[in-house]
Symmetry: C2
Subunit: 513 residues, 2 copies
Amino acid sequence: MRTLIVPPAAIVLLLSCFAPAQGAPPSGQDIYRLGVAERVASCVVCHGAQAEGVGQFPRLAGLPASYIVDQMQAYADGKRPNPVMRAIAGALSTAQISAVAQYLAGTAAPYLPAGPSSPTLLAAGARLVALGKWSAGVPPCRDCHGPALRGGGPALPGLAGQPEAYLFVQLKAFHDGTRPGGPLGLMARIAARLDSRELAAAAAYASALREDQQAEPARGRSATTWRPRPQSPEHFTPPPDFALPADTEDAGAVLLGERIFDNTPRYAAPYTGNTLSCRNCHTDRGRNPKSAPLWAAVPRYPMYRSKNRTINSLAMRIADCFRYSENGTAPPADSPELLALLTYANWLATGLPIGIKPSASGYPALAAPVKTPDRARGAAVYAHDCAVCHGATGQGSAFAGAKVIPALWGPQSYNWGAGMHSVDNAAAFVYANMPHGAAGLLSVQQAWDVAAWIDSQPRPQDPRFTESVEKTRELYHKSHVYEFYGETVDGHVLGAPGTLEAWSQENPLPSGE
Amino acid sequence: MRTLIVPPAAIVLLLSCFAPAQGAPPSGQDIYRLGVAERVASCVVCHGAQAEGVGQFPRLAGLPASYIVDQMQAYADGKRPNPVMRAIAGALSTAQISAVAQYLAGTAAPYLPAGPSSPTLLAAGARLVALGKWSAGVPPCRDCHGPALRGGGPALPGLAGQPEAYLFVQLKAFHDGTRPGGPLGLMARIAARLDSRELAAAAAYASALREDQQAEPARGRSATTWRPRPQSPEHFTPPPDFALPADTEDAGAVLLGERIFDNTPRYAAPYTGNTLSCRNCHTDRGRNPKSAPLWAAVPRYPMYRSKNRTINSLAMRIADCFRYSENGTAPPADSPELLALLTYANWLATGLPIGIKPSASGYPALAAPVKTPDRARGAAVYAHDCAVCHGATGQGSAFAGAKVIPALWGPQSYNWGAGMHSVDNAAAFVYANMPHGAAGLLSVQQAWDVAAWIDSQPRPQDPRFTESVEKTRELYHKSHVYEFYGETVDGHVLGAPGTLEAWSQENPLPSGE
């Protein structure tokens, strides 16, 4: 690993080399390029002429302005300990910091050539970035930092092309507790679950990732031969990725299914009506036993469902996800998309006994709320623990046209017919799985309250809508103990024609979508 | 059990009571009613005025004429030992026997009241009659004697309403070897596999079965609680019938699936184009491990199939059975019929590990033929071992509009796209499963030869037919080593337009269809 050490003394020395800007107050670009006379050195010295970064000095081009501002504050406070940056951040005014941050957020820079890394290290890094290490509770980096690691929102900086040394040192600092853990302490929690070798792998892979690439796992063949074997429904493990037979039609269908699961709007476009993907409700690509695992559904279908009062094949059940959670249309039973999802599901379930309900099925049962779920308390929970990623208006984030953080309500979220619209279901999901990578942070009551907040927001109409909201509520919304369809909230009847449209006009979608 | 013993001496006594008929030679009815002067007593004495039977004397009304003739011959020869009937049969001319047989075949009689039987005995009998005892190689009685046990063909007499004592004594005689075993010794083979208690149960149930009833298994709840458990793909057993959860929607779907499997033209009428049922190729209701068990398909799908060059769900695979083997149309994926078959299949497969091919899958592999399969040798095998049930022209038999013995070729059989049309598949099926209830009778070479005979007969067009027989053969019929589509046989091109129609005009369907 290449590192470049610049001692604080050098900065002091450099300070004398720059002249103050003349006339108008210096722009963000001026401050970046020239520094501030006699107090702050030019940023170029360490971060490069185009803010491209090098060694332990991060690439700043394109980072979210709010993220830069937050970091400068942390440097100034000493929370993010760094004597050089503390001196610089302390010497700049809030307005100056903001100006530089705005400048940097809007600039672009070429990527430096990636350093040499072993294929083994890069493959391990690719797995962490694209697949995570769920056995240790570590979600994939790209879930929050974007499919190309180019950022996932105001608090979620891009990582692609950052100098490898910088990434490693920061991950290690998160791991060791020498850098604040970020919002909700998420990065500290995650880094603590990985060892130095894994942090190095993630750093190497992220650093080497280029603008035209998405994070993809390396599917190398394992030296050991994996064989499917019967498994217990109590302690089930889906097959490892390398178990996939290479270059067969069946393997192709499994891979397409996984792609659809990962990025539904892209790979099953004709049938999606919003920007959600299967994995948003079924984390770890449908593998996570606490997140309605896809494999657990396979041995149970066909099965009677009271929802549509008929026997449902797994194909029909999956088609319902498209109709409701995806707010789209049902893929035909013989469409490549549905067949791929079925094949992927079956493959995940390899070894599970047919007809026996696995102990992990759906979301883990959640204790009843002590207090009736309350949307006002839920709003506070949301602001504290959810908004950092999902945004104040619940719309998540997008990058280059692809959703990174899912919308929880509004036109791009699940509709009033989806299972997640009922508070009990959402609460069970939230308690077991949220915040992403920090499950367990919320109390049972907080999960119920925040679910009530989320599920009392405008969202697309129930596709079973009949005559009126009242009639539709009577027909389809009576069986849930806690749900809001047809209720009046903030002066609007949820589910009534016009409610979502009015909300949408006031709440634009995130940029990049 | 009630028995009525009439000693031979009584017959001799009775002979003197009847006067010979005057004038024209006596009709079958006259012989039955009045006997033949001084040589043969009236049949009425033992068999009843309407040939309704009583005690150990069988009901003769409605029995197939050829069956009666055969039995009279066996009595005369002493092969079916009975001093009274030997005397009578020996005293009648061939013409007289034929006349009586024709008369009896065309007559009907009321059923006598069934004797009292314990519900337990009747339930056990119902299971044998409707489901068989496949663990001992015993097929259901109704497979050959018809769904209402009212007969299944010239050599397959009706059993319903026969006096219980008669049935038991005959079954015991088959069991003990004191009555000839019938065609191919089938009844001797079958009875030998059952004990006296089971024979008594079958006799009691068949005797009590009335004209408006079909044989149905009693689905009593077992005292012991059955629980699904993971099972090995090498030694799998489908759940017992009593394991079905009662009165649930899921159980309803399982039962409907089983009904469709048992009588496809009746329960899946819109999608069938011939008189075959699923169970004809998948015996024991899809349970028999040697007969392409339905349960073995469940853990393997979705799967790529070269037949249609795409991933197939199990629903699509089953739909193909309708398209080809049933010569019908594909049921929609969300039709009650297809969902019921899927549910039945999944239930049968309870405990099988997903994604692992069970060792019993398809038909057991058959050794390659030593000599090239030959249809002339096959014709001889067919005449000797198959025609007794399937008929000389391969059309099987029917009773009251329902098929009993399936057609093996012609307009009511599988079409040129069905798996069974290829000689290797048919040979494997035949060797492992035919004759029904006497598998193992044929040599490997005989199975290949008879399969070549069956699969070189006219049958419905391949639904994938494109342009011409030559083109269709080129597209879809090149992968099988032995098959006859497009070949010229007996001056006709198999599969060519007109071939089947010409054959059909010369070979009418069996009566009752």
